[in-house]
């Protein structure tokens, strides 16, 4: 009973507001107001409950923080000493980037993923070869590990910090072909363009893996392969549990970010190679 009365009262307050912007049916609203007053009084006499605060209106919005707002000078002054040291270290232009590197472009491969997997393999292998006298077959990284895009244009070490901010090291794992297949199945299930190099496969129309090849050769389930990844994934990060099945782990003590910085120092223009690694059958 009481609920119904409160409902009516609320509707009336709605009319009150209405009244301020629309004068049609004014008589009716006035009558309603009168009626509302009675009901309100009624409600009061019924109500023996203590007054309680209740949410009546919720407004939600989002404010875009952009250059329409003038930055507060005291904050900029506070940030400056921190910023100057970083700028001094990282602002030097190292190379030119011919196209925006963006991990969200492409379904199973991204330009940045292909680029990173290629240079990580390229720069890790000489270190691994010198130490262990073996060669790396595959590079597998994680899509989530790429944290920013690199816009087209001049690039500095700052871009490397923003793209790969984590203190992750290149780690080589000794894995069987079986674990590579586990990765491919994980890849298909996850539907994310995890960066790969040295590995190609086809996803069938019913979402199964086929034609898995390592460096162009069909995969051998019992053969040992050397896979370079980062220490985060090597420890089972991103639920890539198959990596923890490695029979040997070699930490190259080479930060992935430093691989990227070293590469930028070595070239004038970042080289982007278009290679189909993941084929999808419709």
């Amino acid at each position: 009973m009481r609920l119904a009365i409160f409902e009516t009262r609320l509707n009336l307050s709605r009319f009150d507001w209405h009244d301020k912007c629309n004068c049609k049916n004014k008589n009716r609203i006035l009558q309603m107001k009168h009626f509302g007053l009675i009901l309100t009084l009624l409600a009061f006499s019924f109500s023996s409950v203590a007054q309680q605060d209740v949410v009546t209106v919720i407004e939600g919005k989002q404010i875009n923080v952009n250059d329409k707002y003038t930055a507060k000078a005291e904050y900029e002054a506070f940030i400056t000493p921190y910023k100057q040291k970083i700028d001094k270290d990282l602002n030097q232009v190292l190379a030119f980037n011919p196209e925006t590197l963006d991990k969200t472009k492409g379904e199973f491969q991204s330009n940045v993923g292909d680029f990173l997997a290629r240079i990580v393999l390229e720069y890790s292998n000489p270190v691994f070869n010198k130490r262990e006298n073996k060669n790396i077959d595959i590079c597998i990284l994680n899509h989530g590990g790429i944290r920013a895009m690199i816009p087209q244009g001049d690039v500095s070490a700052r871009a490397a910090f923003e793209m790969m901010p984590f203190e992750n090291y290149a780690v080589v794992l000794e894995l069987k072909g079986e674990q590579i297949v586990d990765f491919v199945n994980y890849f298909i299930k996850e539907k994310k363009p995890h960066p790969i190099q040295g590995l190609t496969f086809t996803i069938t129309a019913d979402k199964k893996a086929k034609d898995i090849k390592v460096k162009g050769e069909p995969i051998d389930l019992t053969k040992t392969y050397y896979v370079v990844t980062n220490d985060y994934l090597a420890n089972g990060g991103d639920n890539m549990g198959f990596f923890t099945k490695s029979t040997q782990t070699y930490n190259l003590e080479y930060l992935l970010r430093n691989i990227l910085i070293d590469y930028m120092k070595d070239v004038d223009t970042l080289k982007l190679v278009n290679e189909v690694k993941v084929t999808q059958e419709k």
């Binding site: 409160f6 009262r9 209740v54 407004e59 989002q62 923080v65 003038t70 930055a71 000078a73 990060g237």
Partner: protein, 304 residues
């Protein structure tokens, strides 16, 4: 519909023209109290604005500008609470160089009231986070991370209650499963408990025992997971909750056009909001309270 527009106009008037006195109470005799919630998530050490050549967020973000936006709102609103839903750390060299010190100092200057922990706040290990805590003049809450056997024991509480305008606002935190996401050597002995079950206990505590007028969750669970619909997320939480009024989310870097309204276990509305990432946006949710009498909750109006 017209009332909606009218409220919208009024709100715009209050913020833009600075007519703080012109709240709903000025044309309605009912005594209205207003609580303004401002929030960010996944700011990821983005202290500088994005450069003008950034492909997605050119000239957006920047702490010095965010501070200006917040200050402008504080000038017109009396009861402001400023929250962050985690992943304050990691993403720019500011974190690599200073380990989060500058992030915490700037948030303290902006007078953040409370934050929860995201997975990246563990990136320098639980010790790295602890080392920066003295620079944060605001608290952290997490109800489902059990830090009992870690250095953070007693430093991170499950919830905090704020009193504004005579109202009690209970705010608790929830964090994402760390195993498989964060290296164990970083989170150490932190125990992750099921966030949905914990939330159901905490919301009951906040509503029934602490008698909070508003229950807010700072969540770093992620907005929703299409491939894993059962995985704990803000949407799952909203549907399984009873007393939460607002979920401020993070983790998935979800840019929403507007806050999302979900129905809880009793069919009542829960607001879920997340404002993308990197401080590109500031979220704002205003709650108007009416204390004239016991209005039924069906009278609630959501203007988004």
């Amino acid at each position: 519909m017209k009332r909606r527009d009218f409220i919208k106009r009024t709100a715009a008037g209050t913020t833009l023209l600075g007519l703080g006195g012109l709240s709903l109470s000025s044309f309605d005799s009912v005594d209205v109290k207003k609580i303004t919630i401002l929030h960010t998530n996944d700011t990821h050490s983005q202290i500088d604005p994005f450069p003008s050549n950034h492909p997605k967020n050119p000239n957006m973000g920047g702490v010095a500008r965010r501070a200006a936006v917040i200050e402008q709102i504080r000038k017109t609103e009396e009861n402001v609470l400023l929250f962050d839903a985690g992943d304050i750390f990691q993403g720019t060299p500011y974190f690599n160089y200073y380990g989060g010190e500058l992030e915490f100092k700037l948030m303290s200057m902006m007078k953040y009231d409370l934050a929860t922990m995201g997975n990246h706040d563990f990136d320098n290990g639980i010790d790295g986070f602890f080392a920066q805590l003295p620079f944060a003049k605001f608290d952290f809450v997490s109800a489902n991370y059990d830090f009992k056997n870690t250095i953070l024991n007693t430093h991170v509480k499950p919830y905090k209650i704020f009193k504004k305008a005579g109202l009690k606002i209970g705010v608790f935190g929830l964090g994402i499963e760390l195993k498989g996401l964060v290296d164990k050597k970083l989170y150490k002995e932190t125990v992750y408990n099921n966030p949905i079950e914990v939330a159901q206990d905490i919301e009951k505590q906040l509503k029934e025992v602490e008698k909070c007028d508003l229950v807010i969750c700072l969540s770093h669970l992620g907005f929703n997971y299409k491939n894993e619909p059962e995985k704990p997320s803000d949407i799952v939480l909203a549907r399984k909750s009873k007393y939460i009024d607002l979920i401020i989310g993070g983790h998935t870097h979800t840019f929403l056009d507007k806050p999302v309204v979900e129905k809880n276990i009793d069919g009542n509305e829960v607001i879920v909001n997340q404002v993308g990432a990197y401080g590109v946006n500031l979220g704002r949710i205003d709650f108007f309270f009416d204390n004239k009498m016991n209005l039924s909750s069906t009278g609630k109006k959501i203007v988004i």
